[in-house]
Structures are given as C-alpha cells and as structure tokens.
C-alpha cells in the first residue's frame, strides 16, 4: 500500500509533465539518425553497425534522462521527507528508480524496434535486441541514479554525471551490443544475455545502497 503510493506519485508526476519525458526519446531517435548521415547509408554497412549504434544511443539517452531523477525533489524539499521517512531510503530509492525506468527506459526499448528497421537490422534477431535492451537499460538507470544522487546538490551536476557514470556502463554496452550483434549474424547470444541478467541482479541488489548513501551525503549541507 505505502509502496503503491510512492510508485503512484512518480507515475502521476510523470504523466503531468509528459513533455519532459519525451526528451530522452527524441534524443534517442535523433542520435541514431545521425549515424547513417555521418557514415554512409549503405544497408549492408548499417546492418553491421546497427547493434552498436542502437546501444550507444540508448545508453546516452538513459543517462541524460537520469539527471532529473532527484533534482526537482531536491529543490522542493520532498527529498528531505524521503530521507526522514522511517521506511528505509534504500527501498524508496529502489522503487523510484524502477518507476523512472518504466517511464523513460521502457519507451526506448519499444522505440528500438522502429530504429532497428530503419537501420536494416535483421528481423529474425529483433527479439534478442529487445531482450538485451530490456535487461540492460535498467542497469543503466541504476548506475545513472548513483551519479544523480552524488551530483544532485551541485549546480553543474549534469556535466559531471556522465564523467562519473559512463566508465561504469562499459560492461553493459559490451554485453548488450554483443548479444544483439551475434544474434544478427545468427550466432548464439545466450552467453552475453546471461551476463546482462547477472549484472542486473547485482545492480538491483547493491546500487540502492550506493544511491541512498549518495543522497544522504548530498543532503548533509
């Protein structure tokens, strides 16, 4: 019941500021569209590049969406209430990052279907691409939230966040793009997907502690 109220709050707020939610999605589409323009619209080339392009664009899109995660709550004082709640901050944070992924990460996953077609990614492999994004983008959300929690009190936090978080996202990128790439060639892609699954478990269990710790530190002064 109390958890439903916390999730409901974020969903309601997201719905009332739908315009803001569109930003990462538009960013995702535009960045992906830049690659054929910069390289060469040859379908054979695009097909080999598609997994990497989609994954890099999705990674950046998730991260730019993450900067806002705690910012407004920090500014209007609601974050203080969450810290002062007897419910453990780790739980609250876990719920909120998950909700945030629902409204920012999930649309990217769905939209990747369209982008995959535009880049001539083979249809038989599209299930694996979506699967890799479904497992990978929540990890990115949690890692981004760590950065957001550490920089929420800083005026220039949005510039610092990618520097802090991008190096940490490299394994996700490697396994995610590898799964999609192998599937496109008709190879087995189970191994990288298992890695992504394992990393998702690890991130969901450990990162709330880092995020909660980051928020406590950020709100101290």
């Amino acid at each position: 019941m109390r958890y439903r109220a916390i999730i409901g709050r974020d969903l309601r707020l997201a719905y009332r500021r739908r315009g803001e939610l569109a930003t990462p999605v538009i960013f995702f589409v535009i960045v992906t569209a830049l690659f054929p323009l910069a390289l060469n619209p040859d379908p054979a080339l695009l097909r080999t590049l598609a997994p990497g392009v989609i994954w890099v664009a999705a990674l950046l899109a998730v991260l730019i969406g993450q900067d806002r995660l705690f910012k407004t709550d920090y500014e209007d004082g609601s974050l203080e209430l969450m810290l002062l709640s007897p419910i453990s901050l780790e739980w609250i944070v876990l719920l909120r990052v998950f909700t945030h992924w629902l409204v920012t990460g999930l649309p990217l996953v769905i939209l990747s279907l369209l982008l995959a077609m535009m880049l001539d990614y083979p249809m038989h492999a599209i299930g694996i691409l979506v699967m890799s994004l479904l497992l990978g983008t929540p990890i990115l959300s949690f890692l981004g939230a760590i950065g957001a929690s550490l920089t929420v009190g800083l005026r220039r936090g949005f510039m610092l966040l990618p520097i802090l978080v991008l190096p940490l996202t490299i394994p996700v990128l490697i396994f995610g793009a590898a799964a999609a790439g192998r599937a496109a060639l008709g190879d087995h892609s189970a191994a990288p997907l298992y890695f992504l699954g394992a990393m998702l478990m690890l991130t969901v269990t450990l990162s709330p502690f880092a995020i909660a710790g980051g928020l406590r530190v950020s709100l101290e002064s």
Partner: protein, 245 residues
C-alpha cells in the same frame, strides 16, 4: 601496537611522522630506481624476439601495477572513512588518487610506445590497454567529484562512495573487456614478460617495482600532509606548527 596505530590516525602525530619519514623514503626510492635502471638498461641482455624494445617493460609494468594498487588503497581508505568516519582515511583517498591517475597515464603512454614497434600502431584495442584506459576514466571521475563540492568533507564522502562503486565494478569491467577482446581480436598478441625470462631480466624488474612502490609511499605521504593541512587549517595544532616553523 594498536595504540601506535591509534596515535598515527591523529592528524598532528601523523603530520610530524610523515614529515620525518617521507624524505627517507624519497631518497631510498631514488637509489633503488637508479639501481633498477642500471640493471634494466645496461646489464640485462636484449630480448631474443623484441631486441632492446622490451626494455620499456621496466617502466611499464611497475606503472601498471601501481595504477591498480593505488586504486585499491584509495577504495580501502574510502571504505574505512565511510564506515568508521575517520577523517584521515578520506585524506588518504584524496592524496592517493592523483598519484594513481599519474601512473595509469604512464602505463598507457609507455604501453602504446611499446605497442608501436610490436604491433605497428600506437594504439590497439588490446584488453589490458583498454582496461587501463577505463581505469584512468575512473580516476578522473573520482578527482572531479572530490573537488566539485564547496565543503571538503561532503566531497570526501561523495567521492568515497564513487570509489567503492568503482571497486565493485573493476572486476566486471576487466572481465567484460577481456571477453570482448577475445570475441573481436581472435589472435593473442605477446605483451608483457614471458615466464622463462632469465634472472638478469627479471631481477631489475623486481627492483624497479620496489623502487616505484617506495616512490609511491614517499609522495603519498607528502600529498597526504597537504590534504591534512587543508582540512585542519583552523585547528590548534596547525597554529602551533605554523608559529614554531
């Protein structure tokens, strides 16, 4: 013994202790490094495959080892600072980070200078070089966050959390990069010391590693003194120190 450690954790005692110890370690590291250089550049025979090009190993391997060792020191100190709220521990992390970043940078540069004659290009997306590059990014992120806050103590704790997140991630990053490397590279490239190196080659390497370690210890202490001074500049013992010197 425990009492001694406890004393060491008190900033004024530590400061004077470091003031005495650092120069000794510094000069000792210079001697050891000179001995290592003599052994490595002059006494050691050329490698039968790489000729004299292999001599880069005597600076590359110690740098690479220190780059990882420094991160471990940084993360351990960060954990101690967060768990036991020890101020000196945060200062240790902040002091070690620039040194670690320096050695990571050196490992990258010497690695790519070594790579040119061996591979024909300065940069190959080799697993070790790539991991080292990511390690440099982690250091830079830590340093940037540590200095981003107006209040030094907030910066200390925020960057300590980042260091711990990094230390959990490093094995995963390392493993994923290796996996990716075997996937795309196929052939393995000879890089680094072979197991059947003769003593005249590996003894100078050990001496150099020892020398770099001593250097690291000496100048971590020096940097740590600066960090402690910055953090304690209003306290009574610093006033006393300033007046007596």
């Amino acid at each position: 013994m425990f009492v001694w450690f406890h004393k060491l954790a008190s900033p004024p005692f530590f400061y004077r202790f470091a003031q005495k110890l650092a120069p000794w370690l510094g000069w000792l590291s210079l001697l050891v490094i000179l001995a290592g250089l003599y052994g490595g550049l002059w006494l050691a025979p050329p490698d039968y495959q790489q000729g004299d090009g292999f001599r880069i190993i005597y600076v590359h391997v110690p740098s690479a080892m220190l780059s990882m060792f420094a991160y471990m020191v940084m993360a351990t100190a960060a954990a101690i600072g967060l768990i036991w709220r020890m101020k000196l521990a945060h200062a240790v992390s902040a002091a070690v980070a620039p040194l670690g970043a320096s050695f990571t940078f050196l490992a990258l540069i010497t690695g790519s200078l070594w790579g040119k004659p061996m591979w024909g290009t300065y940069w190959v997306w080799d697993a070790r070089l790539t991991s080292e590059l990511i390690l440099l990014f982690l250091y830079l992120g830590y340093i940037a966050l540590n200095h981003a806050f107006e209040d030094r103590r907030t910066g200390d704790r925020a960057s300590a959390i980042l260091a711990l997140v990094g230390v959990v991630n490093i094995p995963i990053i390392h493993y994923s990069v290796q996996w990716w490397n075997t996937l795309h590279q196929g052939q393995t490239i000879f890089f680094g010391p072979k197991s059947e190196m003769p003593p005249s080659m590996y003894i100078p390497l050990f001496i150099m590693i020892l020398g770099f370690m001593l250097f690291f210890a000496a100048f971590s202490l020096k940097r740590l003194q600066v960090e402690v001074l910055q953090r304690e500049n209003k306290s009574a013992w610093v006033r006393e120190l300033v007046e007596t010197t």
